[in-house]
Every structure is written in structure tokens, then in C-alpha cells.
């Protein structure tokens, strides 16, 4: 019984303490500190939902070409961060009988591209060959890179081999762009 009394007393003291701690402090003014952690971040928007590729020249003298534009936003960590934009052909050309990234009808048929990125990005160098199995570079960013509030622009200029072996028709593939920042 004595132990029970002690526990009751202890419990009462704890409750009083908690009540005191929880009691809000009321005054004619109140001050709050707003805190925010700004981390590395990135996002992009493909402005050309469907890029139509057309052949220039005649008699297969020119490849199919087209341009995809995009807008990116990026913020990389000062002094240690970096960023990338990559692309991958996530769905090969279809239907069958036409061009193919993974299994072209003729060896050497390719889907290639060149890149342009406005600062702070650096576009990929030279001509890149798109792949269905791996991501390939569109551009890179260094430490402390910060795009404009509304974003910066970039573009990818595509070139697809115009092979006489392709069956006439309309073919489409899906390309996924990915941006990342640290």
C-alpha cells in the first residue's frame, strides 16, 4: 500500500510536470522561426511531345531528322554536386518492318543525336547513339549549378538512318529523358 502511494505521488508529479511543459505561453506577440533546407534538385519538361522526323533529299540521300526541345531546372550542391541529363529509348520503333534501335534490318542503321544545352548545362559532345538498353548522355552539370527560375532550354537533334529496306509506313518509338542532381 505504501508503494502504491509513492507511485501515485510520482505519477501526480509527472502529470503536473507534463502539464506545465505542454502549457502554451500566451502573450501579445508570438514569434516562430521558419526553417527550410534547400537541397539539390532537378526536373525537366519535354516540350515536343511528338517529334516528327522527316527525310531530306531524295533517293535516300538524306536521313530522317527531327528536333526535340526541353526545358530543365536544376540546382546542384555547392562545391561537391553534379548533375546529368540522359535519355533512353524505352520503346523501340513499331510496328515491325521499319527502323529499329535494338535490331535494325541493316547493320549500321542507327538513331543518333546531338545535344544543345544552355548554361549552366554542357551538352553532350559529338554524336551519340541512342540505345534501348542503356542511358546515354544529353548533358552534364557541375557543382553549384543553378538554372533560371523558369528553367533553361536544351534540345536534341535526331538523325535516323533512311534505309531502303524499311517498309513504308509510320513508325514511332518512345524516348525517356532523365535528369538528376546531387
Amino acid at each position: 500500500m505504501r508503494r502504491s502511494g509513492y507511485f501515485s505521488l510520482l505519477r501526480g508529479c509527472l502529470l503536473l510536470g507534463l502539464a506545465g511543459a505542454a502549457r502554451a505561453q500566451f502573450a501579445s506577440t508570438g514569434t516562430t522561426t521558419l526553417s527550410v533546407t534547400v537541397a539539390a534538385d532537378a526536373g525537366l519538361q519535354v516540350n515536343t511531345a511528338t517529334t516528327t522526323m522527316t527525310a531530306s533529299g531524295t533517293a535516300f540521300s538524306g536521313s530522317y531528322t527531327g528536333t526535340t526541345s526541353l526545358t530543365y531546372k536544376i540546382r546542384t550542391t555547392s562545391s561537391t554536386g553534379s548533375g546529368t541529363i540522359t535519355l533512353k529509348v524505352t520503346s523501340d520503333f513499331s510496328p515491325a518492318g521499319g527502323p529499329s534501335v535494338l535490331s535494325p534490318p541493316t547493320a549500321g542503321d542507327t538513331l543518333t543525336y546531338t545535344c544543345t544545352l544552355t548554361s549552366p548545362g554542357t551538352g553532350c559532345s559529338g554524336s551519340q547513339t541512342a540505345s534501348t538498353t542503356s542511358s546515354t548522355s544529353v548533358g552534364t552539370f557541375g557543382a553549384g549549378a543553378k538554372s533560371a527560375s523558369g528553367g533553361n532550354t536544351g534540345s536534341v537533334a535526331w538523325t535516323l538512318t533512311n534505309d531502303p529496306s524499311y517498309t513504308t509506313g509510320t513508325y514511332s518509338a518512345t524516348v525517356t529523358f532523365t535528369i538528376s542532381a546531387t
Binding site: 502573450a27 506577440t29 516562430t32 521558419l34 526553417s35 534538385d41
Partner: protein, 185 residues
Amino acid sequence: MASKATRRPVSVWLPRLLASAVAIGSGIAGTGTAVQTLDATLQPIAKVSVPSSLSLTTIAGEFAAFTGSLTVSYRARTTASGGGTITIEVSSDFSPSGGPSAAAAGLTYTCSGASLGTACTGTQTASTTAQTPVVTLPTSACTGGGGACSSSDPATVSVNFSLANSPTYSTGSYSAQVILRISAT
């Protein structure tokens, strides 16, 4: 000269003691009426309480605004001809530099769920130089108990902050101070 205390017989002091007790008992048992007028003049008064800190967060990958909700608790009593306000002001802008700024109109808020008075309407822009509204208190306002008063004590209102998330901000941690003021007349 030494004196010897005189011991009085019980027959003398006991009746006197009993008589005194009866007299006192009569006084206690007696009834009477006393009228006391109590005058209390209740002045308008208002107090506010807020958490000491609030973290604003965002969703990665979208440059969505940093958001957070601040619960403001308050008690107020206003006169029949008075009223009151709760206002907010950025007393110290975000620091260090290189990040968000309230002075650049980067901090906005909405108000919701005022249990006493009327919450601000629409989206307000917090200012570093002026007080902007949070709650307007009506005349004859009082806190708690229901009826003519608010049902809750303390009354509360939510201030829902939104802070611009620009890619131009340098990475890092930033903080600002906001002050809420309450007044009643």
C-alpha cells in the same frame, strides 16, 4: 514577597466556562444576511501563442514550393464596440543570403479554420515591412465556453505557408523569423 497561586474550585470556573461556550455557540448557529456588491470591470484583452519553430518542406524533383502549416492559438475578449486583429510580419528575413527571401515576395500564406473571428481570405504575401492579416476579431468576442463565445479555449487558426522554391537558390539551410501580433479593443 512570594505569592501562592490560588486554585479556584471547579464549582466556580466550570459554570462560567459552559456559559461562555453556549454564548459562542449561539453566535455560530445564528443566521443573518450580508450583502456584498462585487464590481468587476473586464477590459478587452488578447493573447497569442505559437510554436517556436516550423519546418517548411517540399517534394523533390518538382521544384514545388516549400510548405508548412502553423497553428496559432489565441485568447481574446473584445468590447461591444471594439474588435481585434491578429497579424503577421517577417521580423527577420531568411538567412544566410543566397536562398529564399520574404522581401522578394517569396513567402505567401493562407489562413484557415479560425475558431474565433474571421480568417484572412485569399493568398497573402508576408512582408518584412508591414503587418498582414491573419484573423479579424469581432465585437463582443470571448474565448471558450461556447454560446456567445468561441467553443474552444484557446481558439486556433492555421496559417499555411508557401515559400517559393527557385533553382536559383543555393543549397543549404535557411531560417527566418515571423512575429504574430494580437490586439483587442
